[in-house]
Assembly symmetry: C2
């Protein structure tokens, strides 16, 4: 039997659908565990048992520091961690909240909010903090693609403003539940179609609503392949997002924080607009952000 790990501290990325935990010793990741015990499937008293399950094969005491980011800190989560108002640094470890627990020494990191226009984030602030910890003195715009893609303006280590786009959720709903599902099924893809659709949506974004149904009509009348339909739907939605977010990304540094599948279409679309982006891995940024937060508050834990 392998030696049991005694972590110095534990980092948690606790989102709506998933929970990921890292056991860390002396700045090194010793083990990573993923579970599907996301916030969305847990009642208030389900969080402590879910965490106990996750850390069961590590030596964890009630004193072991645990830092969590993400939807676990929402109103429906374990304990509500208030949003901090931008402009501000992406992370302030001392603003973290501790849910009631006899078994765990846990802090949940706060999210960010913006008043005008109204916007919120939970979890992305930690990835941004990780990116800035690894890229000091970096100014520009960070795009975090996902279910709710964020565009975030960074200056002098602070989040100045941000904007959320429901592009990922709309793609998921339209491709799996609307009439378009018949015409975009499968995993197929066509780069040229994607590029053309991005260009079309950026050129005439007001026409988006008129173009979606044509994906179905093209299929019915011409038997267009699902790969073409899928790339076209993605290109139209991402193109519309780029049209709306143009004031963010035009003429500035751009970094994308995301998993490959989410980041690639964004990087490609920006490239076609003469706006190259640096792509970095979301999980790595989350861990770097949690580590930065741990360094800030380890003396108080």
């Amino acid at each position: 039997m392998a030696e049991r790990i005694t972590p110095d501290w534990i980092g948690l990325d606790w989102g709506t659908s998933n929970l990921r935990g890292w056991a860390l010793q002396g700045g090194q990741v010793r083990d990573t565990v993923q579970s599907c015990a996301g916030m969305g499937g847990l009642s208030r008293d389900g969080f402590e048992p879910a965490l106990a399950d996750m850390v069961a094969h590590w030596d964890v005491t009630p004193q072991t520091p645990i830092l969590a980011c993400g939807m676990v800190g929402s109103r429906q989560g374990w304990a509500e961690a208030p949003y901090r108002a931008v402009p501000c640094t992406p992370l302030e470890g001392t603003g973290a909240v501790a849910p009631t627990s006899d078994r765990f020494n846990l802090r949940i990191l706060p999210g960010l909010r913006q008043t005008t226009p109204s916007d919120v984030m939970r979890g992305e602030e930690t990835q941004i903090a990780g990116f800035l910890a690894l890229n000091t003195d970096w100014d520009g715009v960070i795009c975090l693609p996902g279910t709710h893609t964020k565009w975030v303006q960074i200056s002098a280590g602070e989040v100045i403003s941000f904007q959320t786009y429901m592009t990922g959720e709309m793609f998921a709903l339209l491709s799996s539940q609307s009439v378009l599902r018949h015409s975009v099924s499968g995993d197929g893809w066509d780069d040229a179609t994607f590029d053309f659709a991005v260009e079309e949506a950026l050129g005439k974004p007001e026409k988006l609503a008129a173009r979606l149904f044509a994906i179905r009509a093209d299929d019915l009348l011409d038997g267009t392949s699902p790969a073409v339909g899928r790339a076209r739907l993605s290109g139209l939605l991402i193109g519309a997002e780029l049209a709306a977010s143009k004031p963010y990304w035009l003429g500035t540094n751009i970094a994308i924080i995301g998993a490959d599948a989410a980041a690639k279409p964004y990087a490609r679309a920006l490239q076609t607009q003469g706006a190259p982006a640096t792509v970095t891995d979301a999980e790595r940024m989350t861990l770097a952000g949690l580590t930065a937060a741990y360094r800030q508050i380890q003396d108080t834990l």
Copy 2:
């Protein structure tokens, strides 16, 4: 026991979700029946029994003429009725197809298709024919709000072009299945919010993608009521549709064919743009269209 009705002919509006039938005698509706045996829930051999159920309490012989419009004529329907290419009159009864049936003398009316941009309709052509039968020499644009709203350009009794918008389906998906569902639940409504959202979307349609998530954020940060969220979502989506369809409706006659709940927001939004529309009832137009088709082909049945 009431006398059994012996219809001269039967009209059917057979859509994806519902089936509605009228028993007609000498130009008068004697009975109306509605069932949930829509095309979407039936396999190819389920159509004949569904129709038999519907007409069971009428005296129907294998010779009784039956005319149907709608998705029953799609590839997944009882028998595929080809699309007729615009520009053309909305109805050509002699283009109707007869599915194989020993029990029923049925014809399914064809839909319409457009090549550039690709578009199709099934069922709306019958409502348009009904409207034109009741409003002879009418030129202008007809809006048919619904799951897939159509804007249709009419001149000299012909459909010149048309465009489909997935606004109704997007409202349904976003309001019931996206993160916005928490912030737009119930039946509440706020007219002033709707008007403002229409104006905002028409003024800057390229910003639609950026504005949807703010409905959720407004709720989280300010506790905005679901009635306001619901009216805002509807206003943004209809405003974006009006922005895209502006070349259709600007400076021309506008008629709306729809049920009250679907037609009212469109009429209101157009009114705020100085574009008043005549609102007519969808069911009445369907029956008028089926009647016009019956007159065209009754000698051949």
